[in-house]
Symmetry: C2
Amino acid sequence: MGRGLLGEAGSRIAALEARTAAIVTDGHVGPLYAEALAASLQQHGLRVSIITLPPGEATKSYASLERVCDAVLEAKVERGDLVVALGGGVMGDLAGFAAAVVRRGVRLVQVPTTLLSQVDSSVGGKTGINSLHGKNLVGAFHQPSLVLADTALLDTLPIREMRAGYAEVVKYGLIDDPDFFAWCEANWRGVFDGGPERDEAVAQSCRAKAAVVVKDEREDGDRALLNLGHTFGHALERITYYDSARLVHGEGVAIGMCQAFRFSVALGVCPPADAERVEAHLSEAGLPTRLAQVPGGCGTVDELLDAMAQDKKVKGGALTFILVRGIGQSFIARDVPVASVRAFLQDENSTSRP
Amino acid sequence: MGRGLLGEAGSRIAALEARTAAIVTDGHVGPLYAEALAASLQQHGLRVSIITLPPGEATKSYASLERVCDAVLEAKVERGDLVVALGGGVMGDLAGFAAAVVRRGVRLVQVPTTLLSQVDSSVGGKTGINSLHGKNLVGAFHQPSLVLADTALLDTLPIREMRAGYAEVVKYGLIDDPDFFAWCEANWRGVFDGGPERDEAVAQSCRAKAAVVVKDEREDGDRALLNLGHTFGHALERITYYDSARLVHGEGVAIGMCQAFRFSVALGVCPPADAERVEAHLSEAGLPTRLAQVPGGCGTVDELLDAMAQDKKVKGGALTFILVRGIGQSFIARDVPVASVRAFLQDENSTSRP
Ligand SMILES: NC(=O)c1ccc[n+]([C@@H]2O[C@H](COP(=O)([O-])OP(=O)(O)OC[C@H]3O[C@@H](n4cnc5c(N)ncnc54)[C@H](O)[C@@H]3O)[C@@H](O)[C@H]2O)c1
Ligand SMILES: NC(=O)c1ccc[n+]([C@@H]2O[C@H](COP(=O)([O-])OP(=O)(O)OC[C@H]3O[C@@H](n4cnc5c(N)ncnc54)[C@H](O)[C@@H]3O)[C@@H](O)[C@H]2O)c1
């Protein structure tokens, strides 16, 4: 992790002693960085292929999985060789899943190029694609052999994507680290501008995520806390058909976290001031915080509930939510009655549509 | 494992404490046994869906994987619920792979209905589908929570499939158990007729396979011995386009094992008498032992070599073979020169085509 790491990719990846590497990237990232990465790997004796897919969430599909697996096999990646995911969370999840299943598992190197993927998706080993029935419903746990997070690559990231990733940075503060949330309030501009604060935010986020994952890799328990904002957020993504023109993942998470706080306030377990403080900071950083900010709207309460019920965090028919007692005090609430969620969403809809 | 176990499926599967089971089966097996299995599960309080696919190796495809995963999700299989593979190795591999990846892994019950799947594919946790680039090149290791092998189900199995599975039974003797091979020579008719010898053969085969897998689940070492006959066999399956009218898996393995013995004789490491004894027994049981017995032929030597080189048992460009010093004395030979294989195949082609 650090600025300028891409230049060292060859020597660091060569240490894994593979013969062949298949770089999987998308049509935005590839033209910017794939050649440099490939050259660095070739210099260190690796045979390299580049597989380029269309950018965007829609690429996390069965059809892309087939395309990537076949291309990786075509590239003669054998056991012990590497798949290198170069891109954001979409490439990381897709290429990571392909690495998990080609020859029943080859090694994976993550080179995350978005803030979101550097602070979240490249850490923890979750990979997968989307199904008609919901996001990330088909996949595997497959830990990378190496993650190379070059924070300089974020210099070319569109501001909207930068903000979306920043929502996940803030999330780590909200889960269990009020001091880090306060640090974010004071330092967020440096994160966006590429100052030393960016490296600090990425490092702190990775530490926070790794600490949770180490305790609960398979998500039987505390790992679920990382889903703060995601039950609402995924429902919004579903309802907007994963159309990034309307909503990107991190925006869904930003709105979802604010909803988790407001829902917790409504349930009487969180002070309203904390919810307001969260909303104020995310707004200041340019993120949406309310349903009404989703262009084209986001459906009726029933549609939202339906979208939520199909999310995989439904266990035995009841809804599981990550709720909060305040900033940095999240907890897992199982068996949240659908009626409470409905009442809350009705209230959200009436207050957020003036 | 035993005769009549299907009747107990409900109580045994209920012990896993799932709420929902998705039975995945094929168009031959479903009509014979799916209703009985479903009824037994429902009696024990499980919600059951039945997913039926076309029979045959071609069903081990990306398209089927998508179909099964979506159907399993449609059936509302959540974490802790079950996928039940009811069928031969094709259903076991496909449904097993779907179970490995739906929600990043749900539990799997194998109800193998062919001799091959009872003695081989349902044990050991390998699952997967085929790629353009070869058989089983995309998949996962996913151990079943339960395997229910009802040997009575084999009563409806076509004789050709019975023979094909029997090739795998014989394989366990050839790998490291000369006494079991001798037992096979003496008792094979009972295995086919459904006498107590069948149960004994299934039990002994599972023990043999489990013993290998326990030592080397991920196939880094000795598990490769189970591939005796498979490098040649898979090449034959490729070359006949997995067309079961021409060749089924076990027939490829039978020819492949004879080739492994003859190749070992040609390399001067195995006594000719052992190769002849293997061939005699497989022939007696009605299995093919020579390339010339493949209807429609099996290509030129170059085509065979090509098909072999694409098999996943190629490491670092060299061919890995399982060779033998005699019956029950197999070993892994790495870096077998392609020239030796070529010479052997040329010889096979000229001697087997009179
Ligand atoms: N596996 C996990 O644990 C995990 C965790 C969180 C999110 N995710 C997944 O991650 C995905 C979202 O990831 P994302 O936000 O990185 O989206 P993304 O991969 O779609 O990237 C966002 C956009 O930025 C472009 N881009 C990426 N890097 C760039 C760069 N350096 N310069 C210019 N453009 C660049 C991409 O081409 C794309 O258009 C979702 O599918 C989500 O489900 C996975
Ligand atoms: N996972 C592993 O470890 C492993 C090991 C060996 C083979 N395999 C795979 O197994 C597959 C071959 O398995 P298979 O030989 O069982 O083939 P299969 O599943 O295609 O079954 C053979 C035929 O018999 C029919 N059938 C099955 N049970 C029947 C019954 N009781 N009565 C009547 N008809 C029945 C099927 O519909 C099919 O037409 C191959 O794809 C091979 O790669 C996997």
